[in-house]
């Protein structure tokens, strides 16, 4: 039994793999997770992940994510985040040659995968303006749900701001100018596309595997398909790729030791 923990900036994802089958996927709010399952020891936050698992066989825990250096997960192996996402995406799709696009709570990652191995990668580092947090802010500014925001791609308003937070005031200006909500929502989705396009073009493949919470945005999936002419595959449970990848890595390292 393998447990994978992806310590994201917005949520912590848990995956449980047993006999090569995913038997449990869970998501916790990051702040709540650390408060309820963590305690401070020697200046670090220690999480007893064993307490989260199902009863029975003692699980192998593997953790990844933005929090993996600040947080000490008791008894866990730690693997780099992008590796976890690549392994998870390969497991969830069965593919070995693709470009991974992972848009999470505050991260944008693009990785080039050939024969199951990552050979190059790019990430955002200064701003979170193409991530889930940005979408949440913009949906809140438009007073619509994330689901509603994800439906629009036609007639996009041209958003210029390069900042996830200033984007909100720009939206408000557009509302005053009489733009429709649909057009503004489309503009938001297009602005994400424009920010990730250079990374996707640099590390392009025929197939893009799109993971992370933002992969639920159907309009963005269609925009990438239309604009870049690439096949875009969103696996079932795209948010759990990192956690699943942790399990896959643990399983692979166990079988290589045998």
């Amino acid at each position: 039994m393998f447990i994978g923990l992806d310590l994201g900036s917005r949520s912590v994802k848990l995956a449980l793999l047993e006999d090569d089958l995913l038997v449990r996927l869970d998501k916790f709010d990051t702040m709540r997770f650390y408060r309820e399952h963590g305690k401070r020891e020697d200046g670090r936050l220690v999480i007893d992940a064993g307490g989260l698992a199902l009863s029975g066989e003692k699980p192998t825990i593997t953790a990844t994510g933005y929090g993996r250096q600040a947080v000490n997960v008791k008894g866990a192996r730690i693997i780099p985040e992008i590796k976890a996402h690549v392994l998870g995406a390969a497991y969830l799709t069965g593919l070995s040659d693709f470009t991974l696009l992972d848009l999470g709570g505050q991260d944008s990652k693009v990785a080039l995968v050939r024969q199951g191995r990552m050979i190059d990668f790019l990430t955002n580092d200064k701003c979170a303006a193409s991530t889930g947090r940005y979408l949440e802010n913009m949906a809140a500014a438009l007073n619509i749900s994330l689901e509603e925001l994800s439906r629009h791609r036609r007639d996009p308003a041209e958003l210029t701001s390069t900042c996830a937070v200033f984007g909100e005031s720009e939206l408000i200006g557009f509302v005053v100018d009489g733009y429709s909500t649909a057009s503004l929502a489309a503009g938001v989705n297009y602005s994400i596309f424009k920010r990730i396009k250079p990374m996707l073009v640099k590390l392009s493949s025929e197939i893009i595997v799109f993971t992370g919470g933002v992969a639920h945005n159907g309009a963005l999936v269609k925009i990438i398909r239309e604009e870049l002419g690439m096949q875009v595959i969103v696996p079932e449970h795209p948010q759990y790729a990192g956690a699943v990848g942790c399990c896959v890595d643990a399983a692979a390292s166990r079988s290589s030791k045998k």
């Binding site: 933005y66 250096q69 590796k83 990552m118 190059d120 990430t123």
Partner: protein
Amino acid sequence: MPKVGITTTVPVEIIYAAGWVPVDLNNVFITDKNPQALVEEAELAGYPRNLCAWIKGIYSTVLNNTDIRTIIAVTQGDCSNTHALMETLQLAGLEVVPFAYPYDRDPDMLRLQMEKMMSRFGVSWDQVNEQKERLDFVRSKVWEIDRLTWQENLVGGWDNHIYQVSCSDFNGEPEKFADEASVFLQKARSQPPRQGELRLGYIGVPPIVGELYGYLEERGARVVYNETQRQFTMPFATLDIVEQYQLYTYPYGIFFRLEEIRREADRRRLDGIIHYAQSFCFRQIEDLIIRQKLDLPVLTLEGDKPTRLDARTRLRLDVFLDMLR
């Protein structure tokens, strides 16, 4: 002896020939007990936030070191922001001596630039050549430190960095610096050679975050090639000082630099290259050329302020090392 501030490596032989002491302002800034405060001081004076922290740090460093009244400004071949930096220092009453590395490496133009600097400091070619001999002896110690780094695996990336980067001004005391290097060499030779590490190259301007080297070594990788720092040591077999500064790659076009990077990457058997780009530096644009022209895996790191290695940079380094394995 009077001091002259330098903003990057210049023909330091001329300064020593004149009996002046060169002070590399970058080194003074970054070894300050609170370099970030110097950056903030420049911002309070009106320097923009979205501008290279090195420039801002140098500005405050000069203002705080009142014994430096003359600055050599490299107006071509280094940083385009230097122009405005010098203008603000001129406003503060400092003397500015311009020096330009000709973009096309034209030897006549380079000689002319050196002669203009020599006339400002009142020295002859004979005096300058004498200093070349003196400094090449000091440099030879550091060349050996570099050789022990990549060939004998006896020296870590940080020590390689610090000795080489110090060759821009030899800490103002070449012989004392040479003695320190000799002691270091002796100690390094008594260590067992390192084994089983990933071998990395570091290219681009020296990092604003020194922690980088130690972090990599904790993770089983070592920088065995520091590109720009090595250039500061003038590792060229020539007796002609004009040719020496013509072979010095850093101030010229990227393609000339790349030839050297490729040669060293091969010779030093590098597994991958870290390209460091300073935030808001025009050299960030060159990353696209570097990525196209080098066959090795390249990780581009962007550094902004003189603070700790941030979590995102650590993440990117971890992934890069994992990818190389």
